[in-house]
Symmetry: C2
DNA sequence: ACAATTTCTACTTGCCCGATAGGATTTCAA
DNA sequence: TTGAAATCCTATCGGGCAAGTAGAAATTGT
């Protein structure tokens, strides 16, 4: 009943992307994502081409490029993402709603395994097809603030701030950084 | 979120074994199981050595040999069988109760993916660790009788009956066959 | 004792997943 | 206009799973 590494990494990255976006950094680079979650960079790269093909992220090439979310967060359901990356949620194909396929068993209507696995599929779907990225990001941020933990991309924000310290003070990005560090300290 | 073929075949075979046992045929051969469910014979063979090692079946070698259930049916929980064959139920190792392992994420307490997958794991476990083979076999047989479908090993029973027709009429196995064919016709 | 049947054990093939590597292309900035 | 930095594209490798093949070991019926 495993979620593949592809799927796991994809969800991790999307959640981070959502958190960062909520904190005012809508675009992130793969190297950042990989560093925060300790994922293999090149592998994540491949996964993101899949996510882009599915419309879940948009890319900007070249220097200062990166990835941003391709849909509104409340439109990104976890079940759909997993289906894109890993295929159907159902443990066996004969109980899948989105990719049904006959099993080897001769009589589906009286197959004990089938009715058991149908229950399992529905239980999984009830969770993964209901929750959206928006809710998970919201809950995660709330938990972090409650426990006074600095959110994932606070460190990056501090680095940028230090970097900008050696530049002219009236940088147009200062408000952005301000929002990020405020949220990080809270 | 897939169940492996090994796991699927193992469960199919156990259910058949339970049904046959309930109908008075406690021991079945791998060739029979494979024929009914259309499974690769030699692959099933390997799976049964695993099931035997786990204590879920017992084997009898030689002519008229085969496999029978190794525990009472209400002691065989599907979750345990799947764990033996496929490993933990949990989609990711950091939410597994039986085989916990740290994830790559830096802070488990505030990991959005983790709490989501913990929900999924619990939903799966709530089904697979509660239902036992006895219940599934019972429900399946009830469904079959209600819909007037002849249970899985009725054909075999008829063959035996035809075979016994050319033998002395007062065969001691006649009551057994009677039970099987009665259940099949009802 | 022998032959048939069946479980056991080992090896092999093909395929997909996870991961790595290198280069091509695009973009921004100096 | 050059170079750095990032996404893109393609090829490859190792390992485990599904499935098939071959044969040995054990037990029962005749």
């Amino acid at each position: 009943m495993k979620l593949s590494k592809r799927g796991e990494y994809a969800l991790r990255a999307l959640i981070d992307l959502g958190i960062a976006s909520e904190l005012g950094r809508p675009i992130l680079q793969i190297s950042e994502l990989a560093a925060k979650e300790k994922l293999p960079v090149k592998f994540l790269e491949q996964i993101f081409t899949q996510l882009k093909a599915g419309g879940y992220v948009e890319s900007k090439r070249g220097k200062l490029g990166g990835y941003s979310l391709g849909k509104k967060m409340n439109r990104i359901k976890f079940g759909a993402v997993i289906r894109l990356i890993d295929g159907p949620l159902a443990p066996i194909p004969c109980v899948s709603q989105t990719a049904y396929a006959r099993c080897t068993c001769p009589d589906e209507a009286h197959c004990g395994l089938r009715m058991l696995m149908l229950d399992v599929r529905n239980a999984i779907s009830k969770i993964l097809d209901r929750y959206s990225l928006a809710e998970i990001v919201d809950i995660t941020l709330r938990k972090m603030r409650r426990d006074k933990v600095s959110p994932a991309f606070a460190a990056r924000a501090l680095n940028l701030q230090a970097l900008l310290g050696s530049l002219p003070a009236a940088s147009p990005q200062k408000t952005l950084i301000g929002r990020v560090s405020n949220a990080a300290q809270r």
